[in-house]
Symmetry: C2
Subunit: 430 residues, 2 copies
């Protein structure tokens, strides 16, 4: 095969420009690996005149990416616009209808419309590739869809958002408060000016919903993900975690339980000795547990132009060689509706931090409330005392039902000497 | 496609039986992922009567695996016999000649005959798959051949032998000597009765030669791998490593240098804070450095029936779906002879442990010899003193040429107050 693979690129941000750069820099080896050359036949972006650090004047330009996806004679459309619907969705739908393959880095689009896109790409007989959508340069989609195809997966646990991991790592190393570190991350370009998609856990939840669907053979169910972000994590929580032998990480966890599938994104205490604790800064890491392979862990850069474009190009090589899979690994006719096991049924250990005024009997009230909810205390830390100010009291509790925890927390919040809100962070030992 | 993929299995050890078990246990999901069913049409092993913990009486049996590979009507032959030539090679060659795909876990065969097998399978138009040959259940072959295809790889570093990693981890946790821990590993089934392939680094070197070829697009060159094993590592080395903030690991490293490719397997001191230090016991881990993706690290079970069979089945699913690549990722016509950069040209830091009789001037002689070879001392440890017995003296030196180190070591070995042999372990910080 020597006919080039013709590519139209919608979106020329860091990933789009990174892709163009890889196709240029490694063109010789790519031609060998793909068994044919690549050719960018058209590009589209919002602003033609913007300085992108590289010359794009020799590419055929479209102001309208949907028009490009429909009109240009190409084999593949790269959708690198982003967003969970709108133009990105139109680009994909129109390209698929025209029999063009899709490569995208768009997790929101997949999380919200993945099942629909799986059906559409399947009936059109085109590839829909998205290695870049989850964990950037780390090959987690290929590992799940292909390398672990012999396994029944029981659990996926990952650090899926580099912004949050950077903030939590920096809070620990600097001892600074959340707000300060967020401002620093924004200055360094690790956080957006509106950081909410990242720090509220939504981005990680998009990615988790995708991994969960592939692993369990279910339709995408973003609504079924329990999501908590990291805004409430204080410098004190980080310090206590350290003292107790934990790191605080924003984890995405998808797991099969006897009662259904649980998908959750929330800050968690993980043991310092666990390999996932060593994943610091903007790095991502994903651990997948298969019934025959055991746990497999992947780590690397979860974002950035180079790593994300590396994943985009790997998808292009797969398409060039005809290595094409159904979007979620199996024909969409086999996908089932996931039966979601609600978070209230979660069983786990917890770290609880309360700000408490030093009044007689407060600790007795707390202990009694926990006992009344069948929750057993593992340890208590109170480091400081003050006659006038609230001081932190930390209680760790053994495995219990989240439902009981919620009820107990509500009761404890009513104790007069305790300031609200109470901080509760799940402990994940596995 | 609903015609089954017909499989003949040569070799019914833990991997062969593990493969049969996966095909049985996960047959429903496998059929969906492979878009067709699997059918084991024949098996062959040395001893038909051996208790394998599962019934194999319903499979068509062959005493002669070569005859099976030639005669049986099948699509794929699994070569799970092992060994760098002999029957395993005959099975593959005969199956390829008959137009059958190969799946194997045989690293020795690939390291010694990979280029030849690449050419043969290519001209026959069959797949030659070997995900199971390197790092067991960890998808390092697919990651290198497919996921990182957009990158130029500059370096691969891995813990590629679980037996050695188990021994080194156990020596550290128990403080025991090499011989004792080896005997324990043999009792636990983590080391063979003849452990030399593992502990002398040969198995890791087989695997490294394969990774190196894929990464750099070169012919297999097992002879070009510098190999040292772990027999000489003492409990004292392990204790000193700990004191200096290092772990001792048997590493396989393949790297591109301006003067050619260097492939080396040897014990190395790695910083405790490096993620590779956390890979303990029988686990394997591989880190790959690409020009766009940066470092990507994979960890998991590098051996054992389940994990290795998981990799075998992934290859079967790829073949069933027609996802077929050239053996080394590119057509063998593109493979070049690697220009091997000899170990003497290696530049690095070293840990040197000497057993020294306490005579005046010994340390001065050592320092002077190092200085005369342009080697600069980083630190010295001498913990004990004795008037009658040799005591350990440890010197760590800054980056230097291995050629200078070898010359200096030879000189130092001639100092009368120093017992031979001298231990020198390379320090790997990256």
């Amino acid at each position: 095969m020597t006919t080039p693979l013709k590519i139209a690129i919608a979106g020329l941000g860091t990933v789009g420009m990174g892709t163009i750069e890889i196709l240029r820099a490694n063109s010789q080896t790519l031609k060998r690996r793909a068994q044919r050359p690549f050719e960018v036949v058209a590009v589209s972006a919002r602003d033609r005149g913007r300085d992108r650090g590289a010359d794009i004047s020799n590419f055929c330009w479209y102001d309208d990416p949907v028009k490009m996806a429909t009109e240009v004679d190409c084999d593949v459309v790269l959708e690198l616009i982003g967003g969970g619907g709108g133009i990105a969705k139109s680009v994909c739908e129109n390209a698929i209808a025209k029999g063009r393959h899709i490569v995208t880095a768009n997790k929101a689009l997949l999380a919200l419309h993945g099942t629909e896109l799986a059906r559409a790409s399947e009936s059109a007989g085109v590839a829909f590739c998205y290695e870049a959508a989850v964990a950037g340069g780390i090959p987690v989609i290929k590992t799940l869809r292909e390398s672990l195809s012999g396994n029944s997966v029981s659990r996926i646990q990952g650090i899926l958002n580099g912004t949050c991991n950077f903030i939590l790592s920096s809070m620990r190393s600097s001892g600074s408060a959340f707000g300060e570190v967020l401002a620093e991350a924004q200055k360094l370009g690790y956080a957006e000016s509106d950081p909410s998609l990242d720090i509220d856990g939504v981005d990680a939840a998009h990615k988790l919903a995708i991994l969960s669907s592939i692993a369990f053979g279910t339709e995408l169910d973003f609504e079924g993900v329990h999501v908590e972000g990291i805004r409430s994590i204080s410098a004190e929580d980080i310090a206590f975690a350290d003292e107790l032998g934990f790191r605080i990480k924003l984890l995405g966890i998808a797991e099969k339980t006897p009662e259904g599938i649980r998908q959750r994104v929330h800050p968690a205490m993980v043991p310092i000795s666990a390999p996932i604790s060593a994943i610091e800064g903007v790095l991502n890491g994903v651990s997948i547990e298969g019934d025959f392979v055991g746990p497999v862990m992947l780590e690397g850069a979860g974002a950035g132009g180079g790593p994300t474009a590396s994943a985009v190009v790997a998808d292009l090589v797969d398409i060039a060689c005809g290595r094409i899979l159904p979007l979620l690994g199996v024909s969409s006719s086999y996908l089932t509706r996931p039966s979601i096991n609600p978070m209230e049924d979660h069983k786990g250990a917890y770290f609880i931090r309360m700000m408490v005024y030093d009044r007689p009997g407060v600790l007795a009230d707390i202990s009694a409330t926990l006992r009344d909810h069948d929750i057993s205390i593992e340890g208590v830390i109170q480091r400081t005392r003050s006659a006038t100010e609230a001081v932190p009291v930390v209680v760790t509790v053994h495995e219990t039902l989240e439902r009981s925890m919620n009820a107990a927390m509500k009761k404890i919040a009513g104790i007069e000497a305790i300031q609200s809100p109470i901080q509760a962070i799940r402990i994940e030992r596995s």
